[in-house]
């Protein structure tokens, strides 16, 4: 996390940069990441949060572009409460406009490989 804040801009018009994370859309497909914050209208934010895309949630980017497809894992990776199984999670399709406003921190796969999250290497 050494990049300057200015480069960590989300897709919100006029965004001046975020202290943490990078936009979801800047990840490569297959990457694992943790949600830091979302920079969305309250309506969209509450909807996504109820669907499972909430701060500290772990996710895997399955497809980037229009639309983005993410798979949300339960719990927070690396905190001992995760349930890193292939079937214990849900898939959400997001318009690019939404995805680029979700700030995430990439997760080092090795850190959670022991917990069974290694399919991200595909």
């Amino acid at each position: 996390m050494t990049e300057p804040i200015a480069t960590r801009r989300c897709g919100k018009p006029g965004c001046t940069g975020h202290a943490n994370g990078v936009p979801l859309t800047s990840l490569a497909p297959g990457a694992l990441a943790r949600v830091c914050e979302t920079c969305l209208d309250p309506l969209d934010a509450s909807m996504l949060r109820a669907m499972g895309l909430r701060p500290a949630a772990t996710l895997r980017l399955c497809r980037s572009g229009e639309p983005c497809v993410v798979e949300v894992y339960p719990g927070s990776a690396g905190q001992g409460t995760q349930c890193e199984r292939a079937d214990c999670r849900c898939r959400i399709g997001l318009a690019r406009l939404l995805a680029e406003r979700v700030m995430v921190t990439p997760i080092d796969e090795a850190a959670i490989a022991g917990a069974g999250g290694s399919e991200a290497t595909k």
Binding site: D41, L43, D44, S46, M47, L48, R49, A50, M51, G52, R54, R60, C62, R63, G65, E66, P67, V69, E71, V72, P74, G75, S76, T81, Q82, C83, R85, A86, D87, C88, R89, C90, R91, I92, G93, L94, A95, R96, L97, L98, G116, E119, K122
Partner: protein, 696 residues
Amino acid sequence: MTGPLRVALLGNPNTGKTTLFNRLCGLRHKTSNFPGTTQEARVGFLKLGESGVQIVDLPGVYSLELQQSESEICRRVLAGDLAPPGDKAAAPDVLCVVADSCALHRNLLLVGEALRRRLPVVVVLNMADLAKKQGLTTDYALLRERLGCEVIPASARKGDGLGQLALAMQAARVPNVTPPGTQDGLEQWADEVAAGVMRSSPGARRGPDITDRLDRVFTHPVAGVVCFAIAMFALFWSIFSFAKVPMDLISGWTASVSDLVMARMPEGAIREFVAHGVVAGIGSTLVFLPQICLLFFLISLLEDTGYLARGAFVINRWLQPFGLSGHAFVPLLSSHACAIPGIMATRGIPDRRERLAAILVAPFMSCSARIPVYVLLTGLLFPESAAKQALAFVGCYALGIVAALLSAVVARRTLLRGPQRPMAMELPGYKRPSFRTAFLTTYDRGLIFLKNAGTNILAICIVLWWLQAFPTTQPPAEATRLREQASAIVHAASASNQTPDMSPRMPGSSTVTASPAHETPGPLEAQRSGVGENVSVSDAPPTPDDLLAQAKKLEKTEALRNSFAGRIGRTIQPVFEPLGYDWRLTVGVVTSFAAREVFVSTMAVMVTGSEEHEGKDVLARIGAGTRDDGRTLIFTPAASWSLLVYYVLAMQCLPTLAVTAREAGGVKWAAIQLAWMCGLAYVGGALAFFLAGGHA
């Protein structure tokens, strides 16, 4: 306890609530593998114990606290101030939360919210069959302890665990656990509970590869569109190609029943009524049963695969320029079966303005009730070429879609201006579609259609038959003169002891025998032009039975013109003059305002009530009907084109208008829809008539 136990089924979208509801109540409401299928609270009844259990199926929600119409409905039903249709409002006695065993962590958020309501709760872990297949196990005893309420594993699709569930509902009590009230606290609680109770057997992991790969293809900017086009093409192509054989069969049966009636029943008003009012009316409606069944069957199968949520994202890009989003796709697709479920499904569109726009344009989609009219008209326009018929058919669907999209732009630029919300939607897992579900949906929709044919359409046919058969009027002077002329020839012939020129067809029996002259407008037909014209112009003197047939035809035409239907039709007809409709078509169009499919049966009654075309199938009979001059076809090509365009665009469905008013929240919207669609249809119809050479 007095009255039945009231149980509400609450749960995330697509967890199988409706499947469970249908299993429990023996009902068949629509289910599909698409989040947001149920949009209305519905009531069913389960016979159990003394007073039974009343079950309410609610729309799926991610949370009860969202600003969203589904959440709102659930909140109000739980609070007891919204009653499902046909029921008194009262809070449920038991909350039955349906959770997906395969995504427990997320489902637990809603379970937590339900537990906080202080109502007796039962949690159903549905899709237990899937969880087992995927090697997921749940510690039910621990989960019961953590939730403080009964937890029942079940598989709604297979019917497992239902007996246990029914008992648990009766024994349900208020949970002794209160999850945290804040969103953060609730999330943490759900994570902890899920992590504690879920186990996966090692090695049973089903990699996400296949889903990932399919998703990549189906949402790809190019491949996704190709798949989408193939899916839609296959859907509509199968409907029309597979329906052909059963349609021909039904059509043939109707013709034989009609002939049988004509042959067996004694001549008179009752025979006319049965053959022309009842058989023709119902037969012309029944012909379309196969297509309508196929449509529902295939859409149900497609929905159940889980593909449609991906299709919605593909089409999102294409809908955006028109002010709609992918959320509108499934509502608009299901409007091709019927606009009413389509409009109901718009509740899944989160943006209010977009939702209103989708409601307004949904009825432009060619619903199954238009199929009969399309079949009739394309068949008349291109009797020789099945390929051209198919093309014209596709054209109708395309015209409806284009009209819908352009109308959506107009609405979004004027009445419903506002920013567009980007799309987010859960992507359900791919599933093998359930044929059982598809068959049941089809069976139900087919039954509804048949019931409609047996009641409303039959009633309209009977009324119409009566309107066109009465009042009986004096035969026109011309006909009386012809009859006298005929009998004079017969008398003269017998007086001079010659054999009168009698053809094998006895004039008196002409109601039974087919008269080829009516089928193809031949020279004889041309000779009989005009009501008041002098008919004997050829060199050969007319034979008596020719004269009698002419007289009969004149009488029939005159009787129909002066009947109630004729008077009504002729009064309104000037309105439809620019579209090229005679008064018969006008009656057909006007009766269609009750329901479009009535058009074909109306025309069947009006045409076969006045002319004889026995031995042909009912559609051909309608096509051969002539206007008052006895020569011009009712369905001239220009008028047929005009009708086709008119029926694609017009709003002719009272139930849809009622649903629009209810769903859009005001009669105003239904009025706008009616005026806009009918205005467009009128202009389009007139234009089509003009372009097809109607005024030449």
